[in-house]
Symmetry: C2
Subunit: 217 residues, 2 copies
């Protein structure tokens, strides 16, 4: 028989982790929950449970649900990498642009949570949305605009404005991965092979001349 004292095991208690690990686990769990249900729909109880932690630990480590949300977004953008800085004379501008698009789409395939969180906030004005745009989206939008100007100046690229290119990349490009649950129910080919095909499809729209296949690491 099992002794009574060992029966009363805590429901979700794991081997004690270092505080930094608890924070990291909470951030990873928050990305999934915020990306699945939006800010209002996600609950700190569920986030904590997914991380194997207790709900009050969220307030201890992140002060509030709002701070946890921002930390989650910050961490996902950090994972995406720094904003590409313009290097005027350096190398093939078209190849630099194509590399940026491929990098972003591959990240979106690996971490669909970021684009989910962004799109779940995009439909209504809010302080969160204003912060998201000012802190993260606007700088990247500027970098993409500069890169696209260089592409067009070199004579390559489709006849699209920088705004249209941004929307092709972030809407057509990224929602393929962010909206996977819906697209899966709709049928269609999906999976590793489909990822490469989708990246090629995006590049074929932006750079009709080619540049869709080189350096397929």
């Amino acid at each position: 028989m099992v002794r009574a004292t060992t029966i009363a095991a805590p429901p979700l208690r794991r081997t004690r982790r270092r505080p930094a690990d608890v924070s990291a686990d909470l951030l990873a769990a928050a990305a999934v929950e915020f990306g699945s249900h939006g800010y209002d729909g996600a609950s700190t109880r569920r986030i904590a449970a997914r991380a194997g932690a207790h709900q009050p630990q969220i307030n201890y480590h992140f002060t509030s649900k709002e701070h946890l949300w921002r930390a989650t977004v910050d961490q996902l953008f950090a994972l995406l990498g720094p904003v590409p800085t313009p290097t005027p004379g350096a190398g093939d501008q078209v190849e630099l642009f194509a590399r940026m698009v491929r990098g972003f789409l591959r990240f979106s395939a690996d971490h669909p949570e970021l684009n989910r969180i962004i799109n779940l906030e995009a439909t209504a004005s809010s302080p969160r949305l204003e912060w998201l745009v000012a802190a993260h989206l606007a700088p990247r939008r500027g970098a993409v605009g500069a890169q696209w100007a260089a592409v067009r100046a070199s004579g390559a690229g489709a006849v699209l404005t920088a705004d249209e290119v941004w929307e092709v990349i972030t809407s057509y490009g990224a929602l393929h991965f962010a909206n996977e649950p819906m697209l899966h129910l709709l049928g269609g080919d999906r999976g590793p092979t489909g990822t490469a095909a989708h990246v090629a499809s995006v590049l074929s729209i932006l750079l009709p001349g080619g540049h869709g296949s080189p350096s397929h690491q």
Copy 2:
């Protein structure tokens, strides 16, 4: 002086409406609230307040929040119009396709709530999403696929699969309107002129040869 009996006016009571009007007002309010905050984020209190009604009237007219959500989606799809049925030999298949795309995008510009609701559900599997796909999205996806096959058979249209065409229309095409709050904060030209330009942009991607401007009613 105002008499005491007239001072005690109910907070939000309006002139008494017919029951059908209350239902219609609740549906319109629900479209806005569900489209802005998602299913979980929307509250029946706010929906009722926006419709100038009382919260329990939602349960009376629609039984539950879930039923109200489905009725809202049904009504928006009814506004969009019936699923186009294939007419094999009839007329210019390319023009029929272009007309469908233009109609959908103009509807999306006038009623961004539908695409907002769809995209807010698209990131996580749920009974609601399964119903949405089976009841509404799959039939329209089938119709678009048939129309696109006819376009390609006629030798026109870009080199894109039917899945890719669906995503160009619903992601790149419709999110331009659904995500207006975010795109507005990001800058860029928006407004009536921008709507026509965006429709032309979508068609230029799908039908590179032309067909972007005719019958601009």
